[in-house]
Symmetry: C2
């Protein structure tokens, strides 16, 4: 297994990338990693570690794509960027997967332009796994498609189902539609039409899920358009950060509360563990013809290592082939229905 | 000032309604309240309190609209419901405002069918005030319109501006567009078109606001379609409840953490106060031809009293007339532009 890692993507690059890659090499013995980025910088950082030299390679790339650039423009113009070069390795089958903690937009654009879509998938989606009180949930789409049709959401549901079954080992994942009401007739045109389609499938569709129930983690795969998904994701982060930040400030405001804070350390530690996004690696780009994993921008070494481990499972479990088969099945089913309708 | 209160709406009705009404009567001396609901029940509850009898009246209504009913059907069929009767008082100018903690959908439907829209406002909106770290924000629309056009969002912005100026006393409220990216070109067709319109207005438009920045409370008026607004609102509630619930469970798990919890009581108390939705009353229905305030379903007496106080300020400040004037101004401005274009 060869994994390409964008050496310059993310808030803590290249340090966390190097650190995560070294950990991954130590944990997975059949793994080789190719780090893309300015050779001199990467090699200098690598030289501080002891590791089997033949298992981490460096591919020189002089340019860097930042979060402030127009994603499509950046990926088109910066052919010598660490991101474009990592993606090209997957395109050329010189790597089995690619990981980046850099610009989500540029990574998604690059995965479409350089690696390409799976035939039959109209809209690949960004699918992070969110921590929840009772378990993780996959949120799909989370920002790749600000506008969607019902067929897109249906495909998201199938792809999420395949991912959850194979990567998270749940035999019959529950699938929910994010909506602003529990009843079938609630929501907008998109959710109403999608509901009708989902209930006709063989998926374990449990109906609408209201956003207030998302953090419970009771439903495995949550489908929605990318605007809503991104809103959910960012509200999750924003509300959590605000609440915990405010509590922290208050704790530091007096001696009494400072002592209380010390006594509650195990509480906050357990809490942090339960809701740690790093546990679940990065966001998979589902529907792309290669394994692309977007690690969180603020990833540390552990998050990068987990994203690499996720990429290995993604590749080992042949998720892409399974998505292709699902699309073929759907197509065949439709053709059969057409034939039946014409007999 | 006469205020109609739906005596049977909400999880804690009629008790919290009576309690809140009594407090309001004690606080505001020129106030008369009409409580709608089954006479016998309401009078029996009222008999336990000491209050000036001529200032709380009861209007008999035998039916109750629940959250489980189809809102439009319920409001059409149940003419003798506590909600429909309270709305009819406003329609007939026998009351200056109406408050309900019952079904949001039925209340909104009733406000449209019974009270009516302000001429020129295509889509009235639900506009709660959210607690934020640095101050409150108005979120408009929050669920009345699952699908919106740019003109609707523009009108929401104007209405929110008028509300914030007059009720919350901020002379030049900041207005933001909820979007999944900070840059102008981000988002879906709706947000892109709305952005263009908003930046041409005289409003204090500060651009896109990403959902993760909503809880900070740095922007006063946040506009979005009702699907997104409802998602934001329910994520806010859901994430906060999950985090605080999980921390509480963890605190109760050992003696050490229980003691820590006791020491941190002032922290949680301050926190609760800062993020207490009850402080800001209920959600105003902006664009309706009468003062309609939706109190939270789980309102207690204090929340009902605050909703009544909000209704008084809403009415005293002639918000509806100001919205009408704004619409007239817009119309005149457009006519002038048309004339100029033809000269």
């Amino acid at each position: 297994m060869i994994i390409a890692v964008d050496g310059m993507g993310g808030d803590n690059a290249p340090n966390c990338i190097i650190e995560g890659s070294i950990s991954a090499i130590n944990e997975f013995k059949d793994l080789t990693i190719i780090i893309t980025g300015p050779e001199e910088i990467i090699n200098e950082k690598l030289s501080k570690y002891n590791y089997p030299k033949d298992r981490i390679k460096v591919l020189n790339a002089e340019e860097i794509i930042t979060n402030n650039e127009h994603p499509v423009m950046a990926i088109r113009k910066k052919k010598d960027s660490s991101l474009a070069k990592a993606l090209t390795l997957v395109k050329n089958k010189e790597a089995d997967a690619v990981i980046s903690a850099g610009s989500t937009g540029a990574f998604m654009a690059g995965s479409l332009f350089i690696v390409g879509r799976i035939k039959g998938i109209d809209r690949p989606a960004i699918a992070p796994v969110l921590p929840g009180k009772n378990g993780p949930s996959m949120l799909i789409d989370c920002g790749a498609n600000a506008e969607c049709k019902p067929i897109n959401l249906l495909q998201f549901a199938y792809m999420g189902d395949i991912y959850f079954k194979n990567i998270l080992g749940i035999s019959k994942p529950t699938v929910g539609l994010i909506n602003i009401g529990a009843e079938e007739e609630k929501g907008n045109t998109l959710t109403k039409e999608t509901y009708k389609m989902l209930k006709e499938t063989s998926l374990n569709f449990v109906g609408n899920v209201e956003p207030r129930d998302i953090p419970s983690g009771d439903v495995n795969v949550l489908v929605c358009d990318g605007f809503v998904g991104n809103t959910v994701l960012k509200m999750y982060e924003g509300v959590a950060a605000t609440i915990l930040g405010t509590i922290k400030e208050e704790i530091l405001s007096s001696t009494r509360t400072k002592i209380g804070g010390i006594l509650l350390k195990p509480v906050f530690k357990n809490f942090k563990k339960k809701f740690d996004y790093k546990e679940y690696g990065g966001a998979a780009f589902l529907g792309v013809k290669g394994v692309c994993i977007k690690a969180h921008g603020s990833s540390d070494g552990k998050a990068i290592k987990n994203a690499i481990s996720q990429a290995i499972r993604f590749s080992d479990n042949e998720i892409i082939d399974k998505i292709k088969m699902q699309i073929e099945n759907e197509k065949m089913q439709k053709e059969n229905e057409n034939i039946e309708n014409h007999v």
